[in-house]
Every structure is written in structure tokens, then in C-alpha cells.
Amino acid sequence: MTATCLSRRDFLKGAAALGALPLTMVELSFADSSKNFTFAHISDSHIQQIQGSNFVYNWDRGLIRAVAETNLLTPKPDFVIFGGDLAQLGKKEELDHGAEMLSKLNYKVRCVMGEHDYYLDLGEYWSKLFGPHYYSWDHKGVHFITLNSVLTYDEWTHNRWPTAEQRMLEMAGLDNPNGSPFMVGEEQRKWLQKDLAKVKKDTPVVVFSHSPIQKIYKGWNFWTEDADEVQALLQPFETVTVVYGHVHQIQYNQIGNISFNSVMATAWPWPYPQSYAQAESHLPKLTVPMNRADPFFERDATGWQLIDLNTGRVTLRYNLWNNTNRTVAYNPETKQPEDTVYQSPDKRIPPQIHY
């Protein structure tokens, strides 16, 4: 039964009760271990309608599997984050179908806006299902913030395209030169400043965004135009982590006080930007890449994450379906996120070489 078969009221009730969804497990640990907790993070499912009730099977399977596995977690995660791009072209049918799959999660779900959810109706229908585009909340001593980082210049959004459908298609093509850089935007940055004003500087802060809030490769929008301004608002805090989707690959970085961790997609992997020979890109040097994907395994290089929060720092456990799992954890000695197995150059393996 798809969401569209449910009465709208029942469906909204279900969506509201469940919130967003996670496909990455994250742990935050504290000196006082009773403060440690976990949540899951699921992202980039790209549910794609073919026609009517037909959807691309491959992408459906990724999200269904992530939800099923997340439901089996013991101990149970405190909540689930869905990191954006639930839909492929922002259609109601796609968002409904995705929301219905997410509604199977037995946990509170919170959603992040992705560009594939946004650029058809500027997030209107998404909001009906999942709530505000950006928001914050406190949980067990950690201040959580969800940003909508996929906005862009007003002229591009409002004046350039004859139809909403074309606007969506133009932004949906990752390598489309007609696209436009992502940004958080002034209005939201003001909100963020105000939101952070009431947070103590030693309170751990965890930010969820769809785009990286750093500048890696503009051509594919592995990029946030006002990343520097957003980072400046976060730097005064002692312990900050940004967890982002969009890139469909393992990335991590440390800039000042801010740790950055990406999550995997459930739908398909993306090449590392250095694989495109015609442009310069800046993958964080710290990142040990994921293994090169084997396309003959439909779910290779996709997955979800379990996140532990320890002393406000993130340990990110990648559950990779056709590959060896990876763990990226904050190392208090080096003060940066590191892969717990492969970080040292002599530990790297051939599939991690991308070209």
C-alpha cells in the first residue's frame, strides 16, 4: 500500500509521529558514559517515479533495506535523521512514496531538505509531510540544528525558468552547468546566529545539512557558497560537528573547531571529484575514500550510518551493504575525525584509490 492510498489525515498523522529517518548510525559519547547515545542517519534515497505507481526498483530497495535494518538496532537509537533527497524530482508521488517507507521506522524521525525535494515547489509539499525547513532542538545535553543549505540566488530560483518542472530538472542534474551554487542564505544565517546566542560555548553542537558547508567542488555542488559565514558562526563553540549528505560517498574533515562527516546514499554512489579530469577539486586531505564501487553489486557503495555521540563527539559507523563497514571517529589526540582502521597511509588498500 502506498502513501497515496492512505487517507491524507492518517498519512500526515503517521508522518508526524515518526518524524525523519536515519541511514547512518552515529554515536555521541560523553565523559559521563550515561550521557552517551546513538542515532541513525539515512540519506539520499532519490525515490524516482517512472509512471503511476511504478518507481525505480533499485532506489526503492535501498531505502526499504535501510529502514528495515535500522529497526533491528539494539540498543535502539534515540532518533533517526533523514539527510535529504528523499525524492528525485520533488514530486508529491515521490515524497509520498518515500514518506510511506520512512513511516515504517519505529523511531522519531527528523528530516533535512535536499535540492531534489525542494526545487519543484520550493519545499511546500515536503513541509506538509515533515515540518519546517530549518529548526533546532536539544537532546541529552547536545544542541542539534537542521539547516536548509540547498537554497540559491533569488534570481535563479524565481526569474530564470519558465516552469517549476524545468527549474527542478536543471537543479537535479549534478553536473549541469545551468545549475547554481547552494547556500544557507542571509535570512537563515540570522536565525542561526540568534539560535546559537542562547547556547553555552561548551555545549556540543551537531548540525545537519544536505550540502557540505565547506567548499570541495563547485561543479557538482559539493559546495556551500556561504560556507565561510556559517562556519564563522559555529567556530566559537568548543565542540561542533556538521553531518551532511548530498555527496553519496565517505568524506570527513576538520576545520578549526568544526568536524565534518558525510553520510552515504541509499540510492547510488558518486565518483570522488578528482575522478573528473577536467576540473580542480579539493577533497579534504584527511579523507580516506570509500572503496571503488562494483556496479555488478546493485547496493555496493551505498548504505546507512549509526552515529554514537561520545563527549559530544561523533563516531560514525558506515553500514556498507556489499563491502567492509567503515568507522570514522573523532580522535581526541589529533583533534580530528579519523578512520579507525585505514587512516595511516600504510593501512590503505587498492580499492580506495580513485582516479
Binding site: 533499485n58 561543479g219 556496479p295
Partner: protein, 142 residues
């Protein structure tokens, strides 16, 4: 006797001279000698096929489920045309790039494979290779 031989010789020589004269008089086709303008035109012809390949790359028309090549391969990245032909371990034999293009059309795109000389296949190969220009050839590299 010697007079007859002499006459035949002169006749043969006459025919030979005639043949050479005719040969020089005809406007014979020239081998590969070309101008800058020719090069420019050929480059344009090539680029028009690259553009057709790019259009196919982002289009749902190769498959049946709306999925396009560019969804997983932005700018044709992670296709490595410079490494083909190579041993494709999943197939257990040496394969050409076009076989892998067809594999993708058949599987993630749920479409129908193209003939090797289909203009669409040639356009796809042209696009993929063009995006990888200036990268040294390394056939067989995994």
C-alpha cells in the same frame, strides 16, 4: 629482323609516353593534404557527435525507467575509457568500453542494448572519451 625489333620498341615507347601524358593530364585525387579550415570543420563534426553523446548521457531515452547515465556518472566520471580494453573481472574476460556502456543500459537503465556501430553508441563513446581527454592511455589498468 633488327628493323622490326626497333619498330616495336619505338611503338612501345610511344604508348608509354602517351600513358604518362594522359596520367598527368587527369585531375587525380590527392592524398591527405588538408588545410586549417578542414581541421576546424572536422573538429566541429566531432564535437557535434560529442554533444549528441552528452544529450544521451543526461536523457532517459536509453532506458525504460527514467534513469540516465549522468545520475551515477556526472561528467562521465568513473568510466575510465583510457583503461579499456581491460580484464573485466565481473565478466571473467577482456572487455571493451562499449560492452560496459551496454551493461549499464541493460541493468540500471533497464533498456535495450545498442549495436556496436549504432550512431548512439558512437556518440556515447565520443562523449565519455572527450570528458577524459588528456588523460594518458593505460589499457588494462584496473
Amino acid at each position: 629482323m633488327s628493323k622490326i625489333i626497333l619498330r616495336i620498341t619505338f611503338s612501345a615507347l610511344g604508348l608509354l609516353l602517351l600513358a604518362v601524358a594522359l596520367f598527368l593530364a587527369l585531375d587525380t585525387p590527392q592524398a591527405d593534404e588538408f588545410t586549417d579550415k578542414d581541421v576546424e570543420r572536422w573538429q566541429q563534426e566531432f564535437m557535434s557527435v560529442v554533444e549528441k553523446g552528452r544529450a544521451l548521457w543526461v536523457s532517459p531515452e536509453l532506458g525504460t525507467n527514467g534513469v540516465a547515465c549522468a545520475q551515477c556518472h556526472p561528467n562521465a566520471a568513473n568510466t575510465h575509457p583510457e583503461t579499456y580494453p581491460k580484464f573485466q573481472q565481473q565478466l571473467g574476460r577482456v572487455a571493451a568500453l562499449r560492452e560496459m556502456i551496454n551493461w549499464c543500459i541493460l541493468n540500471p537503465l533497464e533498456g535495450k542494448m545498442l549495436e556496436p556501430n549504432d550512431p548512439k553508441m558512437i556518440a556515447l563513446e565520443a562523449y565519455v572519451t572527450y570528458e577524459r581527454r588528456s588523460v594518458p592511455l593505460e589499457p588494462g589498468k584496473h
